[in-house]
Amino acid sequence: MVGRLVFDFFVFPGLFFTLGVGILASWLVRKVSALVQWRVGPPLLQPAYDIAKLFGKENIIPKGSTEWGFLIVPLLGPIGLLLASIILVKANYLAAAFIGDVIVVLYLLVLPALAVVLGGMSSGNPLSSLGANRELRLVAAYELPLILAVTTAIVKTGGGLRLAIFSSQWVAASFSGAFAFIAALMCIQAELGFIPFDIPEAETEIMGGPLIEYSGPLLGLFKISHLMALLVLPLFLITVFLGGFGTGWGALWGAIKYVLVLVVIILIKNTNPRLRSDQALKFFWYGAAPLGLIALVLAVVGNFIGIAWL
């Protein structure tokens, strides 16, 4: 039993698996971005080299920082995403083994953003607290449409909260599901911190924002959190909206779905300029949230009348 738990947490679907796929996904992000810009791009293991290097460098704790907060906070992101990854993968492969439902995953997905906010606030640098403020505003912006979209999926699948229920059917293959999927895709883009929603980290404005004072292993932990998010967030979308990852030979189809979702995210990243904070808020509250609301109304009406495609 203990061996099984250790295997779950550290090998599959835990740390080793999540990190490995995350490294490949991060390479894909950089390579596709490079190809879009007519460059060659980094070698396959580049994200792994980056992390290995960061863990060998000096760890500086700045003078004005809240020391224990500064040191502990980077762990929040990897832990939250690790748990979310285990729950999602288990829901796809072992539908019987219940360890958490969609609400738990939604809460766990907030942890990385929370880590960035707390880390930025505790480093005692004006630019990093500015970045933390922006991250907080961004979270306030994208949480509403994301929850509306997930609620649509819940209504569409008959009111259950278990992830296995979602992964057994294509929610996005209906009008309400498609709208909800588009809204959720935008939220995932913001949650990953990709352009056009990289407002908190804006390299050219506030020099990496909340991460500006982090160096060495602690920065490495933030990078690891980002790698894991690259696996967990598209997997969340696939599980809830796109009919799950599939087992056996179906897993190949699942992998294709994963890569497609990731490439769509990367292309959005590479073809858009960065929005301002207020523009992002407007986009989510006046654009994505009404879309999610329409999807929810359509789903409720469709359920009431009994039209499956609505």
Partner: protein, 148 residues
């Protein structure tokens, strides 16, 4: 070669410090990121904070005003790192040799802060992007040899 110097040679993150340059070398440093030269092939990328940096690209003849700022950047950067003095001015003060407002080449100022820091000179006015990349490769090779 240690773990760290191996890691740095595999993913050198560049931080760009202007120590009073005429902007020519700055443009050439940014040229290294363009499709034709693409330092990301070797894992290099431009970062915004000296805390993340592995290579400090210093451009310019080190004016009196920029010296204390450059010293603070040196203190803020996470060790180990190397300093690349890009351009003739940064290497030897260039045409500003006897100017009253320039305090010595980058190498001298860096030595005053810390003897251990490795400084690579990349001469040229401005150096071509190929020269900058070659200088980086040589500097990282040197770091591997020093950190035996």
């Amino acid at each position: 070669m240690t773990w760290t110097s191996w890691g740095i040679s595999k993913s050198p993150w560049l931080y760009h410090v202007s120590t009073g340059s005429c902007n020519n070398c700055d443009i050439e440093v940014v040229d290294c990121l363009t499709p034709k030269f693409d330092v990301e092939r070797f894992g290099g990328k431009l970062v915004g904070s000296p805390r993340h940096a592995d290579v400090l690209m210093a451009t310019g003849a080190m004016t009196r005003k920029s010296k204390p700022r450059f010293k603070r950047v040196l203190e803020a950067a996470a060790k180990p790192f190397i300093v690349a003095s890009v351009g003739s001015c940064a290497c030897s003060k260039g045409i500003f040799h006897d100017a009253y407002n320039c305090v010595g080449p980058v190498r001298k100022v860096t030595r005053n802060v810390d003897e251990e820091i490795l400084v690579v000179n990349i001469p040229g006015c401005p150096p071509r992007p190929e020269a900058i990349i070659e200088g980086l490769v040589n500097g990282l090779q040197k770091l591997k040899e020093v950190q035996q």
